[in-house]
């Protein structure tokens, strides 16, 4: 290197090497894949874990993740902070997330534009919020609270949704852009979620992307979806994470990379998880698109330069 690294946090105190997410494909980490990943000749670009799975005090799960983190860049993806919650986010849960972040020093921390907890309990699903000024203010204040505690910006992910709300007054893209502008967070663009929500709500995916602030996207998610039908018998897509990425979503992804450049891209496969080589094949498909379309993109290869 001819110039110093742009940032060198925690020199002398860090447990792990400083490892930013590369503009390559990554995979959601599953316990059954760990041995295969560590011994594979194919070096996956990065791995991502659900923060909640590592909020226990100790044990074999932490031991395995520490081994992964020593060798690969890591992204921590929260599923339980309930950023869209009307009752505020749980200070206890935020402390747990902070502990995971301090423990593993991930390159990226992300969460969802959704809610999942209420007084009645934890629903273990990413539930939708109406898009209006009141919910915008609430989400922004929660993200500011999280970023203040973690002392770093997070990425916010666009959701898959199945219903709409009478209380909605803004488009999803305007809502997300305003959140990012007011909170200073970055964005995680889930291309499968774009396709699922666009199908379910009758939007055009390309219009959604045209309105989405791609310049703020620091990570992309890809996953498989299932097909169902709505009350009228029309196609309703389910964000199932249980199969390969659909061809239509790969096409949309190519469009995104052509415009945004090479961005770290995660393959998510959380249900009916296959053997590692099947997931690796999906990652290699993403790698090929990143190599082919990233360098000539409209926004330039901003991430590749890092």
């Amino acid at each position: 290197m001819t110039r110093p690294a742009p940032h060198s946090p925690n020199i002398g105190t860090s447990r792990f090497p400083d490892a930013p997410l590369p503009p390559r494909a990554g995979a959601g980490l599953k316990p059954d894949h760990i041995a295969a990943i560590l011994t594979d000749d194919y070096r996956i670009g990065f791995l991502e874990v659900h923060a909640e799975n590592y909020m226990g005090d100790g044990g074999p799960a932490h031991r395995a993740l520490a081994a992964i983190r020593a060798e690969f860049p890591l992204s921590v993806h929260g599923v339980g902070l309930s950023i869209g919650s009307e009752g505020g986010i749980s200070a206890t849960h935020l402390e747990r997330l902070a502990r995971v972040v301090e423990r593993y020093e991930p390159a990226m921390v992300s969460e969802h534009l959704a809610w999942s907890s209420h007084d009645a309990g934890y629903f273990n699903d990413l539930l939708p919020v109406p898009y209006n000024s009141a919910s915008l203010e609430r989400v922004v204040s929660h993200i500011v609270q999280i970023q203040d505690r973690l002392k770093r910006p997070i990425l916010l992910e666009n959701p898959s949704t199945y219903v709409a709300f009478e209380q909605t007054t803004m488009s999803e893209t305007d809502f997300i852009r305003d959140i990012a502008r007011k909170s200073g967070c970055g964005l995680l663009l889930d291309v499968n979620n774009v396709f699922v929500s666009a199908t379910n709500h009758g939007w055009k995916p390309l219009h959604y992307l045209r309105d989405f602030p791609l310049e703020l996207v620091e990570e992309i998610h890809l996953a498989g979806h299932a097909e169902d039908v709505d009350d009228e018998g029309d196609l309703l897509l389910i964000d199932a994470h249980d199969r390969p990425v659909a061809d239509s979503v790969w096409k949309l992804y190519e469009t995104v990379i052509s415009q945004a450049g090479a961005v770290p891209t995660l393959i998510e496969w959380d249900n009916d998880v296959p053997e590692w080589p099947v997931l690796r094949r999906e990652a290699q498909l993403a790698d090929a698109i990143l190599d082919r379309l990233g360098p000539g993109s409209l926004l330039g290869s901003r991430h590749a330069a890092e």
Binding site: G59, L81, H118, L127, E166, D231
Partner: protein, 261 residues
């Protein structure tokens, strides 16, 4: 209206007989029943799956279809309180005790207690087990006064039934032919190195370990145990305790705890 929407949304998720929450609609004038049902299904299926992951032996004992129906009843009574799903199901054993359709399987709740303890042990804090040398370094005349620090993963589950044998056979997918379900068994759950282990304890050992875990001295614990179980084999209990990693440290003086690794 908006401040109440998540409350009604959440209630309708868990109760399919409730109407759609206020304000929930389909796009462009479409209906929202099947759309909202996607969320209901996601919540129920994912939580039933979580319970199946936490209680695989119980699931195998009652059959998957029955287990899933039973888990739906349980989760409607006790939805998870936190986003840490690996902590879910703390009340599942008590639920099994009062769930009439399984009353003919009286050991089932203790199998669930063992499974819940297994997962607690899996996620417990890391600590090295007490080394035999640390105990050996204490002068014989002081041994009676020694107290022990429980290992963070150590748990004891006592059963009026053969819950440990049934748990082990079910987890290892072995037949239950050799098990006598009415024989009482005590189970010890530990994580001495990186794997959770479940052992059946000999007579008296559970009393002895529980007394030590509660902070009694070695002598007090031995006396209490021998009063109740004259046949109690103290030397083999000490070997088992060191091998299983029930404790992480010992101290020959309350005032000056000597934490050993």
């Amino acid at each position: 209206m908006i401040e109440m929407s998540q409350r009604s949304f959440g209630a309708a998720l868990l109760d399919p007989d409730l109407p759609l929450p206020d304000g929930v609609i389909g796009p462009r004038g479409k209906g929202a029943q099947k759309r909202f049902a996607v969320y209901r299904n996601n919540v129920t299926v994912s939580l039933v799956n979580a319970l199946g992951d936490i209680f695989p032996a119980v699931q195998r004992l009652v059959g998957e279809g029955f287990f899933r129906d039973m888990a739906r009843v349980y989760l409607s009574e006790e939805p998870p309180r936190s986003a840490l799903l690996f902590e879910y199901g703390g009340g599942f054993a008590a639920f099994l005790d009062r769930f009439e359709p399984v009353s003919k399987l009286p050991y089932l709740s203790d199998v669930a207690r063992l499974e819940r303890a297994w997962l607690d042990a899996f996620h417990a804090a890391d600590a090295d087990p007490l080394r035999p040398e640390s105990l050996g370094a204490i002068p014989p005349e002081s041994l009676g006064e020694v107290t022990f620090t429980p290992h963070p993963a150590a748990r004891i589950v006592r059963s009026k039934y053969a819950a440990v044998s049934i748990f082990s056979a079910s987890r290892e997918e072995r037949p239950l032919d050799h098990v006598r379900p009415l024989d009482p068994e005590d189970g010890l759950i530990t994580r001495p190195r990186h794997e959770v282990q479940v052992r059946q304890l000999p007579s008296g050992a559970a009393d002895f370990f529980e007394a030590l875990m509660a902070g009694m001295t070695f002598e007090e614990a031995a006396n209490v145990t021998l009063e109740r179980h004259p046949e109690f084999d103290l030397p083999s209990a000490i070997s088992a305790m060191l091998e299983a990693g029930v404790f992480s440290a010992c101290s020959s003086s309350q005032a000056n705890p000597e934490h050993t690794a």
